[in-house]
Structures are given as C-alpha cells and as structure tokens.
C-alpha cells in the first residue's frame, strides 16, 4: 500500500552509512517493513550512488538495480547506502573516499571490506540485513571480521543489473545478515533469473534452511590452513569443523594445489576488467563535470586523476598494463589458464566431497593502517578468491573469537548448491548455540 513508511534514526557511530534515509517507504511482502541497507555500488533510483568515490559524487541513478527492485517489491524499507572501499577495491573499507567505517566488535579495527559498511550496520545493530557485493571476498571478509553471516552466491544466481561493475566475471551481489535464516530469507528475494543480465541463470531459489547434515562429506584442503593463517584463527576454525562433525558430517582432508596461482590469477583478472569498467568515468555524462575550457584529453585525464583514489588508480594501471599488447599473453591469458585450473580443482574435489570448509580470513580484523603495503593486503584475500574464480557459492558464518575478535568459518559449495552451503552454515549455527 502506498504511503506507508518507517522511521529510521540510527546512531551511526561506526560510520556504516554514506547516506541514511530517515523515512523510507515500505510495503507488504516477504520483507514487509524490514529495514535493509544497500551497499553504495548498487544502483538505487533517486538515491545518490557513489561507490564511495569522489568521481561519482552527486550521481543519482535514474533506475533501480534488479535486486533493489525485488527488495522493494517485497515490502522492505531501503534505509540507506553503506560505506565501502572505493569501487569495491579493498579489504578494509579504509579506501572509501569519505572516510573509514569502524568495526563494531572493536572500533579501533577495520570492519573488513569491501562491504564493510553493510557488515558494520548489521553488527552494530542498525539493520537486520543488508546487501553486499563480493568480487574476491568482499562479503565474506567483513562478515568474518564483524561476526555476522554473509553469502557469495553462485555466479549468475543473482542479477548484476545495476551493480556498478568492478570485475564483471567475478562479482556477485549477496545477502548479509546476523543469522543464516535471514541470509536465506534475503537470498530468496534477490535470487532468480533476470533477462537484463546475460550471465543470469534460470534457477529459482526457494529454500528453507535444514540443519540435518548427517552423512554430508566436507573436505578440508590443507592449503586452507597454509602459510599466513594465524594459528589462533586456525584453531578456532578447527573447533568449528569439529562441530560439523558432531552434527553428523564426515570430515575429509584433501589438497587444492591450484591455490598457489589463485591470488595472481585473481588480481590480474580483476584489475584488467576494472581498467575497462572504470573507463566510463570521464566527467562527460555524470559525476562532477570536467573543466570544459581544456581540451578533451586534458579534461578527462584531470578528471580521473582527481576523482579516483590511490588504490583505484593503482588497479587501473595494473589492469591497463596486463591487457597491453605484448603483455596480454603473459598476464591476462595466463590468468585465465590459472583460473581454469582452479575450476578444475574444485570440480575434482566436488566429485569426492559435498562442500569445503576452512577459515574465511587468515587473521582477525586488522588495526587501522596496519596493512600499509598493498601486497600484504592482497595476500589476505587468498582464502576467499578461489570461490570467485570458479563462480561457486561460499558463505562465512561466525565460529568463535580470538581475543574477543570474531573469526569466520567459510563453507564453499559446488556450483549451484547455494542451498547446501546455507544448510551446513545453518547446522553449524544451530550446533554452536546452546
């Protein structure tokens, strides 16, 4: 019914939101009256959408992303746009042009990224659920760091129409919430075929979480506990895996050798695609206009130099280099070959097991500024990028704490078996709570 609205006046002390809508409209449906936060790289008609970048300041999309349309149709109240790393490029939300979001579990630490605003809004109790996007772990990392649940769906299961692209072949919009039940509920609304997205799959999602995982085979690749994984995190995650065993799952250790090249394949692919995706931000059609007195070349270069942050410029340059003639074969083509190895590795493993388990992140949330070197920051994505390279579903569910900081358990499933990873996460959640 038109005209119904709710009041939303949160104390946003963690700076989770870039924009808050105080009296959002809502309606009837599966999400009637529920406040939902939307990551700022998802287009919302009439609501400024910036990807936390100065280059898009003032851009108000004239259309809703498909997922936003679906959420509105089910009666949810869209209460605001959440902070993120600029264009999704980061693991901490420190790369927002508008300032970092703080981790509600420890405000001196980052919430993870790039969907840090959405995770903090949930962990801080401001909203029960939110949308994030995951290109190489951007839903699962902040979910793990903030102690909430986040699902990266199978590639194609959720429409990308309206998602401002960072790396098209890797990214998915996904649900984030405090509980597996709510993640499942939000997934039920946003998933499904969309004719406007050519990579969309015609596979409806209608699911009720089922905690019975007796007989389910769960593989644990050695590489998931390799170098760089904090032993305290490893220990908490092993405890989590034994909870799954207690619930009747069969735990099988295995190997995933393609992990060795996964990170490199990921960074070459995502920067290449980003260098092309971000070419449209030239000051001609939206965002602050370039100085019209200068020549075209001067004006768009100046616009881009000033509008993009440091990390975005770095990734555009890396991607431009990787696609350059003479280097394409060495980088982009090689990355695609490595990507196929990752896919093949998953396919092989999923002939033997139903899902894989391990830590979501190698460590707990960093302190602000702790990872000043980009390379060490990139290394922290090692456990999340394989799912994106292969397009398979993966969920992060809270599984304990190290020194009072949340640790996430990651369950990765077979292509199209989002329901299965949700069930395993649900069983785990049920098994942990007394």
């Amino acid at each position: 019914m038109p005209g119904r609205s709710i009041e939303f006046h949160p104390d946003d002390r963690f700076f989770a939101f870039l924009r808050i809508i105080h009296n959002p409209q809502c309606g009837e449906g599966k999400l009637a009256g529920i406040p939902v936060a939307i990551k700022d790289n998802i287009s919302t008609e009439g609501i400024e959408t910036t990807c936390a970048s100065r280059i898009l300041a003032g851009y108000v999309p004239p259309y809703d992303a498909t997922v936003v349309e679906r959420i509105r149709r089910e009666g949810a109240a869209i209460v605001g746009k959440t902070n993120m790393d600029e264009f999704g490029m980061g693991t901490t939300t420190e790369n927002s042009a508008f300032g970092p979001t703080r981790n509600p579990a420890d405000p001196s630490r980052v919430p993870g990224g790039s969907s840090g605003g959405s995770a903090a809004a949930i962990a801080g109790g401001l909203v029960p659920m939110a949308l994030g996007t995951d290109t190489g772990g951007s839903i699962r990392c902040p979910a793990a760091f903030c102690g909430i649940v986040g699902l990266k769906p199978t590639y194609g299961r959720v429409s990308r129409y309206g998602l401002i692209a960072y790396a098209n072949s890797l990214e998915q919009i996904g649900p984030m919430a405090g509980t597996v039940t709510d993640v499942n509920r939000l997934m039920g609304v946003i998933a499904g075929y969309d004719p406007r997205d050519s990579t969309s799959l015609d596979m409806p999602f209608r699911h009720e979480p089922d905690p019975d995982i007796r007989g389910v085979k769960i593989g644990v690749p050695e590489e998931f506990f390799g170098e760089g994984v904090d032993p305290r995190v490893a220990s908490v995650v092993w405890d989590g895996i034994s909870v799954l065993e207690k619930k009747g799952a069969e735990i099988i250790t295995c190997r995933m050798p393609s992990m060795a090249c996964a990170l490199a394949a990921y960074y070459v692919t995502c920067t290449s695609e980003a260098s092309s995706n971000l070419a449209r931000f030239d000051g001609v059609r939206y965002g602050p206009a370039a100085d019209s007195k200068k020549t075209w070349h001067e004006s768009f270069q100046e616009r881009r130099r000033e509008g993009f942050g440091e990390e975005v410029r770095r990734r555009i340059m890396l991607g431009t280099f990787a696609l350059s003639s003479g280097y394409y074969g060495k980088y982009y083509a090689k990355a695609q070959a490595a990507r196929n190895n990752v896919r093949a590795d998953f396919a092989r493993l999923f002939r033997e097991v139903d899902a894989l388990a391990g830590p979501t992140m190698p460590t707990v949330a960093f302190r602000f500024g702790e990872k000043s070197d980009p390379l060490s920051m990139y290394l922290s994505d090692i456990l999340t990028v394989p799912a994106n390279l292969a397009g398979v579903p993966a969920i992060s569910v809270p599984c304990g704490k190290v020194e009072n900081l949340p640790v996430g358990l990651q369950i990765t499933g077979c292509w199209m078996e989002d329901e299965r990873v949700i069930d395993i996460a649900y069983a785990f959640e049920q098994g942990r709570s007394p």
């Binding site: 998802i42 287009s43 959408t49 990807c51 898009l56 851009y59 999309p61 004239p62 259309y63 992303a65 990308r160 129409y161 309206g162 998602l163 401002i164 692209a165 790396a167 098209n168 072949s169 004719p195 406007r196 997205d197 050519s198 990579t199 290449s272 695609e273 260098s275 092309s276 971000l278 070419a279 449209r280 931000f281 030239d282 001609v284 059609r285 939206y286 019209s292 075209w296 070349h297 768009f300 431009t320 696609l323 350059s324 003639s325 394409y328 982009y332």
Partner: protein, 479 residues
Amino acid sequence: MTVIIGLEIHCQLDTATKLFCGCSTDYRDDSPNSHTCPVCLGLPGSLPKINKKAVEYALRVAKALHCEVPQESEFARKNYFYPDLNKGFQITQYDRPLAVSGHLDIDGDDGEKRVRITRVHMEEDPGRLVHKGGADRPRYTLVDYNRAGIPLIEIVTEPDLRSPKEARKFLNKMRATLEYLGVFDSEKEGSLRVDANISIQGSERVEVKNITSYKGVEKALTFEVTRQRNAIRRGQKIVRETRHFVEARGVTTSSRSKEMEQDYRYFPEPDLRPLRVCDWADEIVIPELPDARKSRFIQDYNLSPTHAATLTGDWQIAEFYETLPPDLRTSTGTATWVADTLLGELNYRDMSIRHVPLQHFKEILIIRESGGVTDKGAVEVLRALLDQVKETGSCESPGACIERLGLKVLGTSEQGGENPVTSAAREAIEENPQAVEDFRKGRKEALNFLVGQVMKKTRGCAKPADVNRVLIDLLSGEV
C-alpha cells in the same frame, strides 16, 4: 604499377531496436539523446543484452557472402577514450568473429571477379559529436547518444580490388546485396562507412578512414592512387600511415601519428555469453540475390544482360520493375525506359528512386505503351514530375501533367470535324510548296522535312507514323 585495395565496410543493420537495449533506432528528426536508456548511455551498472534480430541479420549477410560461421564466436571490448564512446570501450568482435572466409562476385575491371571476404563481425555504433561554432575551431562540442548502440556489421575484404572504380563496383554490389537481404537502409545518413587500405605493389600500405559515401570511395581512392604514384615517381617512400578523407575537398590528409599508436587492449566482453549460432545460420533462408534475379530477368523478360544488370542492381528498381504489367516487363522499350531514361533523369537530379511515387512512373509507362503519349512526351512528363518532387516533395498525377502540358497524343479520326494532325499536315503542305514539289520528284528527304514541320505544329503530340500516313494520303490525294 599495380594498385592493391582492400576495404573495411561498416554498415548499420536496419533493426527496429538497438544492439544491446530496447531503444528505437528510428531517431531521424528527433531531438538529441531522446532515444536513450541506461544501457546505451553506458550508465554505471547497466548491462548489454544481445538483440537476436541483429544477429539474424548479420547471419543473413554472412550467408549471402558464402562465409563460414564458426561453432562459437565472442564479443570483445575495444578500449579507448573518446567523448562519443559511452562506456570508454566499444563492444565489438576481435579474434573470434561471427563469420569468416567468404566471397562476393562482381563485374570487375576485367570481367567477372571473385572478391574474397576475410570476416564479418558485429559491433555497436558510438554516439555522435556535434561541434558548435564551426567544424574547424568549434567553441564547444555536444554529444548525442541517439546513435550509440545502433547495430553495425563490419565486412572486411582481402586486398583483391585493383582500382578505385573496381572498389566502387564492389561497394555497389555489396549495397545491393545488403538491400536484397532486407537488413540495410542505404538512405539513412551515415548508414555505410568505409575504411580503405590502399597500396601500390611493392610499397607500404596506407589506410584511408572516414569515407562516408559511395562516390567518396572512388574519389578518395583515386586521390590516393595519384598521390602515391606521384610520390613513387619522385623517388619518395610511401609511409605506412592512417589518412583521413576530407570529402568537401576530395583529398586525404595525414592523421597525427599518435592516433595510430592506439593500443585497444581487446579482451573478451565478460557481460555477454559467447554466441553459438552455427546451427541457426544453417536454418536461415536468404532471399533471391542480385545475380539470381539478373539471370531470371534475362530468362523471363527477355532482357539484355546490360539492362538486366542495371534493373537488378538496385533492389527498389528491381521491385518496381516487377510491379509492372507482365506484357510491359518483356518489352525492350520499357526496359530501356526504366534502365536508361528513368535512372538517367534521377541521376541528373541526384535523386533516389525512393524519393518518388513509383505508382506515377508505372502510369507513365502504361500510357506511353498504349500510345497515349509519345516517347518524347513521356520524357517531358517524367522531367516535370521529378522537378516537382525535388522542389515540393510531391507531384501531380501523370494524367494531369499530360493534360496541362498538352502532351496528349493527337488522334487522326475524322469524327467531329477535321483532326489536328490533318489540319497541321494541310498547313505544312501549303506553306512548303518547294518540299511538295521535291517529294513529287521522288525525293524522300522532302517527306521527312514535312513530317518535321507537322511535328513542330503539333508540338510533338502526334505519332510520327500517323503524320507519315496522313501526309502521304494528302499528297497522293492531290495528284
């Protein structure tokens, strides 16, 4: 010095909607940016969705050009910065095109010739820049994205053409083929753009860009041949470069070398799935093409190969010809009239057959065939009607025109008093006693002179045969 020419032809496919969105392609006379949506404006977050009709049209072309359609082809991004480029890249096809290895047979410089087609691929048109305050030094530039996303096909030939004239012939045949396929409207401004690679054997090749008309191709290439030949004669080396054709001046000018060094950083378009259309291509049935129609015209209508070639060289003219009554189609007079007179008059006025009401031409032909107007009168009517169309966009009916100009053929019946032909003949005989005298002495030319006089008096509205008969009757009656 052998001339070597290869062409890249960009042609707009005449679909109702754009290549990757539902926006209408018919934006003529509409205000700028009125046929746009998030997709063809390249707004952040929008995604392309392939237009199946455009793929079907492209496949028709591939088939007509006898191309192979691979199992799988793929779209790619061509990355460069330009204000008319809505996304900072163009969606095109790169190393996996829709179709490869075809050919088109033409009537070349030395008879029948097979021109090999390297590839046919699909891509989107960018927007259009409008420079305000003069093209040379514009004060500012506006962008119109109505054209952005119009489906294009690019047809690339092997370097098989040997002269500018041959290139023009090839293009004419290509245009006819595209029109026969129903995928192309040559009347739309900018619907066909050509880049040409041209070299003199043994020298570097030069790429000429920005040729936007059929006549322009021959002009640009002729200029280049002369330029390159002269340079070689003077002992200069031809530099491998890109040149732009300046239509207004009929010359090509060197582009800045910077533009040549573009690295387009092609990579597969991640937002579109590969095209698997090989089986579909097999199912597509293409209509009768110019060569087949030409043979049929020769066979069925008994036309000369030259007439048949002209009449089938343009789809509209061929279609018009086939709307004529069957007995007219087989008459050499009709063929001559359409192929020579009608096309000649159109050409003279730089008009297309599309501009004029064909029903009127049909009427002229029918009246002419039935003797209601003389050949000369018919031409006069045609000219009058074409001039009217050119000036006002419409014209009177041929009947009205014949009436107005008094071109109705004069009868020779005696009903209702003496007919005008007989009166005129009588006058001519009275006014030219010398000629009558000569005729009686048996000089044939004298009769021709008298016929001429009668024709003059009747302003060409009498049939020469009638005049002849009436004059002989009168002259012999006087004996």
